[in-house]
């Protein structure tokens, strides 16, 4: 194989990929073209089913039993990949082209040591000795910022944390100096602050090793941070491509525009500038419409023009460079100004009386270590301090967000509220009645019915063996909302109307529903008993961007109508900023900061809040962010630090006092509390993490009238 170093690293032309099943041929990717030059970083963005992962697999020619490259060419440095024989393909994989996967733990062999899995790459491709390979592996582990390479090489995958595992996968991909890196959603399975570290690493390391990247993600904010150019895919086709600056500032395709309308950017607000979900659903692969794939869902659809023929890519720039192209016939006629990005403004919901009071709530789990050594030492009972003195209040009609990463104790808190666990100490009062020590089977049906939950995983939230209608009806009956069968059925149908689903879903089974539809049923089920408080545990994190926007808006609408109090648990600060009135930030079981949304998102910050804010990717190129990357790992819940739980990773740690003493809870403003040793004045002097430019300073306004750059 002769590589041509002058040719582009990757050149895909008119690629068509299909799956061949018993039901016939299903086209997955249509007419796909892409060019990656040396050192360039390309983003492939789209929702599930758009074909982006299929493209990555096609580059590696690993499409599985029933997938095939129907037509088109994929050239790597001038060499045609689609016609290589297995030996040549094997020589390329892992050495010239490497891949980094979505779930790092699953990607590593659980029965082999890390060192073993690392050294086999250069040993296979370059034939070097084991000693040389070990040395190179150790050096690379240092490059990915893993301390103590010897210990890591001798460890097994399950002994490392998620972030460490992903760093190992990255190191493994770089061992034989690839020219092209394929990254398939590499940070989706990781916590936000860990994600920020990995994203930064990916950016740096490809510059250092001179490799080009194809970065696949559904998160536009991440693409903005990592890539130079971006391709937006919808239903197997590229609908728009361009440089980061051009596409993000002036998105031209209605779908891209629609996507931006679904993302809770800093400029969105649930009352003043609500999200605008994309109506309709992704077409099934074998039921694509004629003409434009996006036609049925497009607000600018013109019958007769948009539903016939093959629509090609049009150049946005007059000089016909490939800086910005769009697959739309009407792009010049459509107004894609950012001010039509959002739905109409709505009246804010007035906040009422206190409905929930949490006071010094504590939940410890007991772990019994029955080993002889522990008994001798007298430490046979250990405590997992899942929740430590939580205090806050929620009012009628208010949305309180509980923010934190995995292990912060938010799920435990939800369980105590719901009665699945009882608090070890402290008080939780629902409308004045104490519920902290009352398990669910001792609560009255009215109490239970007025405090319900929407769950995270839409695929498990419904029982697959019963019909949708039966499951909702059961809730209605249990909480005594209605007694008589006909009335119950009527109420179920009413609820289906409220969550905007067709009435005949009553007899359907969950298997026939999509993720978004299942989550809507989950919401219907939670609201069936007219609850006054609803806990939503990451209700949209498992859903696609546009589906998530629709479900979020639905929640807001129902809340508005019923004046329900919403406790919204999430790790996604963008969504939190969008819909929360008050925010509670948790870390390792303790509250670090709490206040209104404006107070928490502006200085003074708790250092953890600061780091969280910096870690969230924002899909707006004109917003500036201070960069803060946390070092170190989350401490073990069994052995939390004696002092401040954040002391092991804090970038503003002032000294030994942080390790030894619990931080005091300081009152920064009206009902705004920060638990930190640093003096408030110092914290107030810190600049804001995120700077959103004034509307008047925005690029598209400054260059008034020029909707497209000439």
């Amino acid at each position: 194989m002769q590589f041509d170093d002058n040719a582009p690293v990757l050149e895909i032309k008119d690629l068509n990929l299909s799956y061949y099943t018993r039901a016939g041929e299903i086209p997955a990717v249509i007419d796909f073209s892409l060019t990656v030059t040396c050192g360039e970083s390309i983003g492939l963005v789209g929702e599930s089913g758009c074909g982006k992962s299929t493209v990555a697999m096609a580059i590696m020619n690993y499409m599985g039993g029933n997938g095939a490259i129907k037509s088109g060419s994929i050239k790597f440095k001038g060499v045609e990949l689609t016609t290589l024989n297995p030996v040549e393909l094997r020589a390329l994989r892992g050495s010239a082209i490497s891949m980094i996967y979505q779930e790092p733990f699953a990607a590593l062999n659980p029965s082999l040591t890390i060192g073993n899995q690392l050294t086999e790459v250069p040993m296979t491709h370059e034939g070097i000795s084991r000693e040389d390979a070990t040395e190179r592996a150790a050096q690379l582990l240092g490059d990915v910022c893993l301390p103590d390479p010897e210990r890591v090489m001798a460890a097994y995958p399950h002994q490392l944390s998620g972030g460490q595992q992903q760093r190992v996968v990255i190191a493994m991909a770089l061992l034989s100096r690839p020219s092209l890196l394929l990254l398939d959603e590499p940070t989706t399975a990781l916590d936000v602050t860990v994600e920020a570290g990995i994203t930064k690493l990916i950016g740096e390391i490809s510059k250092k090793y001179g490799c080009s990247q194809v970065y696949i993600s559904h998160n536009l904010g991440l693409i903005l941070e990592v890539c130079d150019r971006v391709f937006v895919m919808y239903s197997g086709e590229v609908v728009e491509e361009g440089t980061i600056n051009s596409l993000f500032t002036w998105p031209k395709h209605p779908y891209t525009h629609g996507l931006f309308g679904c993302i809770p950017l800093p400029t969105a607000d649930k009352n003043a500038a609500p999200l605008r979900p994309i109506r309709g659903q992704l077409p099934l692969p074998h039921e694509r419409p004629n003409g434009c794939n996006y036609g049925p869902r497009c607000d600018h659809f013109k019958e007769g023009r948009c539903d016939r023929g093959v629509i090609g890519m049009d150049y946005v720039s007059a000089t016909r460079t490939t800086d910005h192209r769009v697959r739309c016939l009407r792009w010049q006629e459509i107004n894609t100004e950012p001010d039509v990005l959002h739905s109409e403004a709505k009246e804010p919901l007035p906040i009422g009386d206190t409905v929930l009071e949490v006071e010094d709530m504590q939940k410890y789990y007991e772990i019994h270590d029955r080993s002889i050594a522990a008994i001798i030492r007298g430490e046979s009972v250990k405590y997992v301090k899942a929740n430590e003195s939580l205090t806050f209040r929620a009012h009628e009609g208010e949305t309180v967000a509980i923010v934190g990463e995995s292990g912060c104790g938010k799920s435990t808190f939800a369980k105590v509220l719901m009665g699945l666990e009882t608090a070890t100490q402290g008080h939780v009062r629902q409308k004045g009645k104490e519920i902290a020590d009352v398990p669910v089977n001792k609560r009255t049906p009215q109490q239970i019915g007025s405090l319900q939950m929407v769950f995270q995983n839409p695929f498990d939230t419904l029982n697959p063996s019963h019909t949708v209608g039966a499951q909702i009806a059961r809730v209605i009956k249990k909480f005594g909302v209605e007694g008589n069968k006909a009335k119950i059925r009527q109420r179920v149908l009413d609820l289906l109307d409220i969550v905007k689903l067709p009435r005949d879903f009553y007899i359907r089974r969950p298997r026939q529903l999509s993720g978004g539809q299942k989550q809507r049923i989950g919401i219907a089920r939670a609201f069936a008993g007219n609850p006054s408080i609803v806990i939503a545990d990451e209700p949209v994190s498992a859903l696609d961007v546009s589906v998530a926007a629709a479900v979020t808006e639905l929640l807001m609408e129902i809340q508005r109508e019923h004046r329900t109090t919403l406790l919204f648990i999430s790790h996604d600060l963008s969504v939190v900023r969008y819909l929360a009135d008050r925010v509670v930030v948790m870390y390792l079981g303790q509250i670090m900061e709490r206040g209104t949304t404006e107070q928490v998102f502006a200085p003074p910050y708790h250092p953890y809040t600061e780091a969280l804010l910096s870690a969230v990717p924002i899909a707006d190129p004109e917003v500036t962010k201070r960069e803060i990357v946390l070092e170190g790992n989350l401490p073990s819940v069994l052995n939390p630090p004696r002092g401040c739980p954040f002391s092991t990773r804090c970038h503003r740690k002032i000294g030994k006092i942080c390790d030894d003493e619990r931080p005091p809870v300081q009152l920064a403003a009206d009902d705004h509390y920060i638990a930190c040793h640093i003096a408030l004045d110092e914290l107030r002097a810190v600049g804001p993490v995120i700077q959103v430019p004034q509307e008047s300073e925005r690029l598209h306004v400054v260059e008034t009238g020029a909707a497209d750059p000439a």
């Binding site: 892992g94 062999n109 086999e120």
Partner: protein, 313 residues
């Protein structure tokens, strides 16, 4: 690890004690209306006085728990009582028979394990292929023919029609290898299907994992992917299954030894139960359970050792 092993041994001892209680209660007492011991041993036509005398002689008039402790003590010290069927101490009978069965078992495993592992791995590697389907069908058919039936069928073919092998395995003139063939054959054919299918399932599951995809996309040669990456994970489950086949073997030999008149442990157990030989039956049961529990212990230890996730947790 050490603590884990000690815990398992402790549990093993507990199991043996519970089992011994169960056996004792079943066989030595009248709890389940099984009929009076003396009548069962001596027969129904013996006079009541003789039964009383017998009971007195054998200490059956003492309270139950004392009898149990005495019995257990005897057992632990190696005094297994006397067999009424063979009219000699149990110790003289049971151990040579157990040895015979061990020889039989050894050959069964020596033949079965390589065949089932190889076929299981090959069919798991290429799921849905012709080889896979053939092996699947063959293993279903072989496991459908119960061992007593397949004894008959093999006997028909190899002894009756082709006159290749002797019909019984009494080993009257000393050890003769030819006589082992039929019993081993029956057991191997019957069990190979099960182990092969377990191995296949494990292998197929491993081949679908993301880490095998990683290995392939790292550019490793196919034989390395299988031998180094896949097998290490795929063979963990079959290992446990094979260890537990010892337990199965103890059941399977009963029929085979009975049919081919092989003087093994299984046939002994059967004879003891058909002849109401209490002492022998108890001894056989305890030994069988001991072997079973022992292999379970080894299987557990092995599984823990082979699975790094558990070993280093």
């Amino acid at each position: 690890m050490l603590i884990f092993i000690l815990k398992r041994i402790g549990f093993m001892i507990l199991t043996m004690i519970v089992v011994s209680m169960l056996i004792f209660v079943l066989l030595e007492t009248n709890l389940f209306n099984t009929g009076d011991v003396a009548t069962r041993v001596l027969g129904a036509y013996v006079s009541d006085e003789q039964k009383d005398m017998w009971r007195e002689q054998h200490g059956y008039n003492r309270p139950t728990y004392i009898r149990y402790i005495g019995w257990l003590g005897n057992f632990a010290t190696g005094n297994l009582g006397d067999s009424t069927r063979f009219k000699s101490p149990v110790n003289d009978i049971i151990w040579p028979r157990l040895w015979n069965t061990t020889i039989l078992g050894f050959w069964v495993f020596a033949v079965m394990i390589p065949i089932s592992l190889v076929f299981g791995i090959l069919s798991g590697m290429k799921e849905g292929s012709k080889l896979d389907r053939t092996i699947s069908v063959v293993s279903i058919v072989t496991t459908s023919v119960p061992d007593f039936a397949s004894c008959v069928l093999w006997w028909f073919m190899l002894v009756f029609f082709f006159k290749l092998l002797p019909g019984t395995s009494g080993m009257a003139e000393g050890f003769e290898f030819k006589q082992l063939v039929l019993p081993v054959l029956v057991l191997v054919v019957y069990d190979f299907g099960y182990v092969a299918r377990m191995t296949r399932a494990s292998m197929a599951e491993v081949m679908m994992t993301p880490y095998i995809r990683t290995a392939v996309l790292k550019g490793l040669p196919y034989n390395k992917v299988i031998l180094k990456h896949a097998l290490r994970n795929a063979l963990i489950a079959p290992f446990t299954v094979i260890m537990l086949q010892v337990n199965w073997l103890l059941s399977g030999v009963i029929v085979v030894e009975f049919f081919f008149a092989y003087k093994g442990f299984g046939a002994l157990l059967l004879e003891a139960s058909l002849n109401n030989d209490i002492a022998l039956l108890e001894a056989c049961a305890m030994v069988a359970v001991f072997v079973a529990v022992g292999t379970q212990l080894l299987a557990d230890i092995g599984y823990t050792y082979l699975n790094p996730r558990i070993r280093f947790s």
